[in-house]
Amino acid sequence: MALRPFAAAAAFAVTFGFAASPALAATEIQWWHAMTGANNDVIVKLANDFNASQSDYKVIPTYKGNYPDTMNAGIAAFRAGNAPHIMQVFEVGTATMMAATGAVKPVYKLMAETGEKFDPKAYLPAITGYYSTSKGEMLSFPFNSSSTVMWVNLDELKKANVEIPKTWPEVFDAAKKLHANGHPTCGFSNSWVTWVNLEQLSAWHNVPLSTKANGLDGFDTVLEFNGPLQVKHLEKLVELQKDKTYDYAGRTNTGEGRFTSGECPLYLTSSAFFGNVKAQAKFNFTAVPMPYYPDVKGAPQNSIIGGASLWVMGGKSAEEYKGVAKFLAFLSDTDRQVYIHKASGYLPITKAAYEKAKAEGFYKDQPYLETPLLELTNKEPTENSRGLRLGNMVQLRDVWSEEIEQALAGKKTAKQALDAAVERGNQMLRQFEKTAVK
């Protein structure tokens, strides 16, 4: 990275202790992120607004590729001794970041040390819980959060004379009707196959994904998502895959175009899909809460979040940390949170921002934007629905996906596939436990 003349001058001034004007002595805060398109604009605007609001610090956002790329870039930079100050890490990278004691600076510590105004109670617990210790200490700062919702093509449902389904049995019936009425290749489908069909399904029904509160309470967590609920659900998907009443759409979100093109009238994926739906769908749509099995006691529970949070990297100077803390406080501001929420479709992270958006009537015309918030706050989170913290989650998901694919392709039964996914996953968790910093 070539130093811009301005930065060079600043560095020069700092190095030689010249009595420079405050504007020149601004401490730089590097912020690496994975946001593209409209969301990248939001990031740039936030940095610019912060830089304009004061003259001591300068936040410099840099796009580093998709989520895994950004995380790997940050890790590589840390190993080379020049990590950024702030790194955006997707939720499944949380355990890896957390295990890196010394490589990261927990947010609660940062705020205490710098004396920046910080009230953990101001945030939505359903969101911050994912990024906090079991004692409620916030480790990373939630930046862009989403949850799983079911996107519905209202026009196609009307044509087939189908009501919006609320439970899984209703979804299966609706999908069969839609399959028979103009959707021979896809009655319903989903992106992020494990997030929707294992992780969220378990939380939404208050069933554990793994022991130790899904890993939040320790790296010695053991997977246990091969229980009756998950097996029953996968069996149903396998059965419906045969005639494409359900049609598998891949491990990530590459299949999302199948909803906006009108091919799949019911589609479960992230609420952050909103921007694309709004831009591309030529039909009336809405997003409703995830379906549930009514015979499971207490369902629906609450959903867990997706998206990413900001991690503060370790080994920086006190002055730099002061700037980072100021920036995080700046991001927590109510109006700013409302802006992020409206501009990106990601969820507000403070209670005040949520209330304000509600009071402004923001959800009146767009009730589907409130759906993920209603899911997250549906009930007080339990051991099984606070969040997940599993090491090597990116690869774990690949392994689980592999096994689910085997079941859908008819090579294994649902039970065999989930047993194998649990067994292989546990081996990986033990491997992670070996390398995690104690």
């Binding site: 890196a100 004691t101 490589a103 990116v394 690869q395 690949d398 694919e405 392709a409 910093v437």
Partner: protein, 293 residues
């Protein structure tokens, strides 16, 4: 007739080779040595805790059935990619070698795909054959084929082999064409006067004279199939469905970069390097004897 350069000074030849040596040292030997060192260590992703574990990483690998499956799969892929792209390229080269009107245009068009980066190749083929977006998928379905490489491992493997072979055809074509054009016309004409038909002429005269080219391309293609298919696999299938398109090089990436298991991943790289060294060695020792230069 051997040409030999005679150097007056002792140092000059070393000085002349120095830049090349430096590049090989910096870009090959140094990283390779690092991989070997890393493969004996157990380390977290951030490099905060390191322990020396001798050959544990290697033992873990050999205890993993998936690793042997990946080895077999990689050999199968390499073989399929090399054979299909070599034979097609040879066929095309023989055709393009004929005096045709507009021959240059054909030749240029055939060389084009080589300029396409592997990940782009992956995306191109996805556009054609993705189960729901694919242009060709519609025709396949209309023909009664249940085309779904997202779930059908064999179809996904076919797709990778197709795309990888397609990209390599240009490269092979180029060398075959050059090889064909360097065959003296008089030899072929002599065979023709002796009454040998085109097929016979090809197999008894052209093919043996092409053997050095074929041998060279075989080595290059195997190495290509081993390593350069990474981008294609990553954009097309990411190793799925199940593990049906996970080759050795892709496994190195997923275990190391996505899984944060640097030791295991380094051990795999070392083994992979060993396999390729041995393969190339075998080719030069045994296959080369059959080659007439």
């Amino acid at each position: 007739m051997q040409k030999q350069a005679i150097f007056q000074s002792k140092l000059l030849p070393y000085a002349l080779v120095a830049p090349q040596l430096a590049i090989v040292l910096i870009f090959f030997y140094w990283p390779a040595a690092q991989a070997v060192i890393q493969s004996f260590l157990l380390q977290d992703a951030f490099g905060l805790s390191t322990s020396f574990v001798w050959v544990d990483n290697y033992l873990d690998l050999f205890r993993e059935p998936a690793y042997f499956e990946a080895i077999v799969r990689t050999f199968f892929f390499s073989f399929a990619i090399a054979v299909s792209s070599l034979s097609l390229a040879l066929l095309l080269a023989v055709m393009a070698d004929k005096p045709l009107r507009g021959g240059t245009i054909y030749r240029t068009l055939l060389i084009w795909p080589y300029a396409v980066a592997p990940p782009v190749v992956g995306v191109l083929w996805i556009f054609m054959l993705h189960p729901s977006l694919g242009v060709l998928s519609r025709y396949l379905r209309a023909a009664g084929i249940d085309w779904n490489p997202l779930l059908d491992g064999n179809q996904a493997a076919t797709l990778i082999i197709l795309a990888a072979a397609w990209k390599q055809i240009s490269y092979n074509f180029l060398f075959f064409l050059a090889g064909l054009q360097s065959i003296p016309r008089s030899v072929i004409e002599a065979a023709a006067i002796d009454g040998a038909r085109p097929m016979r002429r090809f197999w008894t005269v052209t093919f043996p004279l092409l053997s050095p080219t074929i041998f060279f391309l075989l080595v290059v293609n195997i190495v290509y199939a081993f390593f350069d298919t990474f981008g294609i696999i990553d954009t097309m299938t990411r190793g799925g469905p199940g593990k049906s398109t996970e080759t050795l090089v892709y496994k190195v990436y997923t275990d190391g970069l996505l899984g944060g298991n640097l030791g295991g991943s380094a051990a795999q790289s070392v083994i992979l390097m060993g396999i390729v060294i041995v393969l190339t060695g075998i080719q030069f020792r045994f296959v080369e004897r059959k080659v007439t230069y």
